[in-house]
C-alpha cells in the first residue's frame, strides 16, 4: 500500500519536475556553460568573461545600483504596506472591502502598461506633474533626465506597483493576531507604539520575512519598469542587472557576456535568501 502510494505520488509530481527541470534548472546550468564561451560562442574561454566584467566600471555601477534600488524599494514598499494595512484595519470591517479593492489596483495592472502611464507623466515636454508644479511657481523637474531624479522615478514607480501586495499580506496577518494580546497589553498600560513593537511585530515576523524576501528577489531582478521608463539611462545610471544583461547580451550581440551579468545575480539572491530564511527558522524554533 505504501509503495503504491509513493509511485503514484511520484508520477503526479512528475510534470512539475519535468517543467522545472527542463525550463529552469537546465537553462540555468546552460547559462553557466554559455558564460564560459567567447563572444561568437565558438571557443571555450573559462572565466575570462567574468574577469573582463570585473574590470568594467559600468559593471560595478550596475551592481551598486541594483542593490540600492532593490533595498530602497523593498524598504519603502514594506513600510508603506505596513502603515496602509494598519489604516485599513482601523476602519470598520464593513467598509474595508472597498478600500482593499481600490488600493490593490496598481498590482493588478500589467506593469508594462502602468509604466507607460508613468512615462507619460514624467515626459520632458508634456509632464503633467511639471504642469502642476509650474502652476505653483516651482521649476519643472527633469524626472528622467537627471540621474538622481531618474533613480527616484524608477524607485517611485516600483514602490507604487509593489506596496499594495505588502498591504494585502500584512492586513491578513494583522487580522490573525489575537485580540487578547492587545487587551493584555492595554491593561499593562502599553501605548500604541509599545503594542506595535511588543505584540504586532513579533507575531508578524514570519510573514514580514517571507514578503520581504519574495519582494527582494522580484525587485532585484526587475526588468519591465526600468526598461520602459529609462532604458537604463541617463549614462547607464539606472541600469539594473536585468536591463544591462539585455543591453549587453542581446543588443550588444554578446550572449556569453549577457549570461555572465545575469549569473552574477544568483550569489547575491542566494545569500539574501539564506540570511532571511535562517532568521525565520530560528525565530520559529524560539516561538
Amino acid at each position: 500500500m505504501l509503495r503504491r502510494r509513493s509511485t503514484l505520488g511520484f508520477f503526479m509530481a512528475l510534470p512539475l519536475i519535468v517543467v522545472l527541470g527542463a525550463l529552469v534548472v537546465y537553462p540555468a546550468g546552460y547559462s553557466l556553460y554559455l558564460s564560459t564561451l567567447n563572444k561568437s560562442m565558438q571557443r571555450f574561454v573559462g572565466v575570462s568573461n567574468f574577469t573582463f566584467l570585473f574590470t568594467r566600471d559600468t559593471f560595478w555601477m550596475v551592481v551598486r545600483q541594483s542593490v540600492i534600488f532593490a533595498v530602497t524599494a523593498v524598504f519603502f514598499k514594506a513600510v508603506i504596506g505596513f502603515c496602509v494595512a494598519h489604516f485599513v484595519h482601523n476602519t470598520p470591517t464593513r467598509g474595508q472591502r472597498k478600500w482593499r479593492g481600490m488600493l490593490l489596483v496598481p498590482w493588478v495592472i500589467p506593469p508594462a502598461m502602468s509604466t507607460l502611464a508613468w512615462l507619460w507623466l514624467f515626459d520632458p515636454s508634456y509632464s503633467a506633474f511639471n504642469w502642476l508644479l509650474q502652476r505653483f511657481g516651482i521649476e519643472a523637474i527633469p524626472w528622467l533626465g537627471d540621474p538622481y531624479w531618474a533613480r527616484f522615478a524608477v524607485i517611485l514607480v516600483n514602490v507604487w506597483f509593489g506596496a499594495p501586495f505588502f498591504m494585502i499580506m500584512y492586513l491578513a496577518a494583522l487580522k490573525s493576531v489575537p485580540e487578547q494580546l492587545y487587551e493584555a497589553a492595554a491593561i499593562d498600560g502599553a501605548n500604541w507604539w509599545q503594542k506595535l513593537w511588543y505584540v504586532t511585530l513579533p507575531m508578524m515576523r514570519g510573514i514580514i520575512a517571507v514578503t520581504v524576501l519574495f519582494s527582494l528577489i522580484v525587485t532585484f531582478a526587475n526588468f519591465d519598469i526600468v526598461r520602459v521608463l529609462t532604458a537604463g539611462g541617463p549614462i547607464d545610471q539606472t541600469h539594473v542587472f536585468a536591463t544591462w544583461a539585455f543591453k549587453v547580451g542581446i543588443e550588444g550581440n554578446d550572449i556569453p557576456l549577457g549570461a555572465c551579468v545575469s549569473l552574477f545575480m544568483l550569489p547575491i539572491l542566494g545569500a539574501a535568501a539564506v540570511v532571511i530564511l535562517r532568521d525565520v527558522g530560528r525565530r520559529g524554533a524560539e516561538a
Binding site: N38, K39, S40, R56, S125, P142, G145, P234
Partner: protein
Amino acid sequence: MYPADGPPDKALADRWTWDAFLDAARKCHKAGFPFGIGFGTTADSVDSAGAMFAAFGAALVDRKGSIAVDSDATRAVLDYAKRLAAVMPPDVFAWDDASNNKWLISGKGALIMNPPSAWAVAKRDNPKVAEQLWTFPAPRGPKGRYQPGLNYFWGIWKFSRNKAAAKSLLAFLSQRSSVERLVVASGGFDMPPFAGLRDLGIWSQVAPPKGTLRHYPPSGDQIVSVSGMPAPPAIGVQIYTQAIMTKMIAKFVQAGDSASKVVAWATSELEGLMRT
C-alpha cells in the same frame, strides 16, 4: 537656404558653422525658446552627436580598426558640446527619439535636428507651429559639413529559393518612378541614397509653409555620414547601438568628468567592443 527657390547664397552657407550655431542657440535660449539637441542613447541623439564628431574630425576608431579616440579633435568636440548643453534644456541627456519632436511641436523649442517627421506631426497636431517650421542643412565644422544619416538597404538571402524574382523586384523598386512613389507616400521623409534621385518635386511642393522641405535633400558640400564612421562595420555598429559618443558627452557635461577620464572610459569601452 531661404527663401526656398532663391539662388544659393554662398556667403550665408559659409557663415553657417557650428560656432554660428552656438551663437544662435545662446540667443534663442535667452529669448526663452532654446534649441533641443538630444544627447540620449537612441538613434536621433547618436546621429546628431556623430555629425558633430565628424565635423570636428574626431573619430573613435579609425578605418583600420585602431582606437583613435584620444585626440585634440575629441577634446574640441567635448568642449563644444559642453558650451551647447549650457543653453539647452537639462534633460536632453534622457531624450529618446520622440522627445525632440514633442519639444518642437509643443512650441517650447526653436530648433531640433530631425527629419521632417516633426513637421508632419506638427501639421496634424499644431498647425500654428507647423507653418513656422523650416528645414535646412547642418552647420559646417572644421573638417566639413557632415549630415547625419542612416542608410537602410534591401538584400536577398543566399538560401532564398526564388532569387530571380527577388532580383527583378528589387530592380523595379530601384526605378525612379517607384522611388518617387515611396517618397511621396512618406510625405518626403524617405531620402533616396543616390544623388541622381534627389531632385524629385515633392520637397518643393509640401506646405505650409511652401518650400519648408526644399532643403531637406542633401546637396552642395553636405556629406551624409553614419555615426561611428570610419570604424569597420562590426565595431561601428556597436559604437552606434551602445551610444558611446553621446555617453562621452554626457559624462563630460552632466557628470563633470575630466576630458582625460572620459577618453579613458571610451577607450576601455571600445576595447570591450573589439573583443571576439
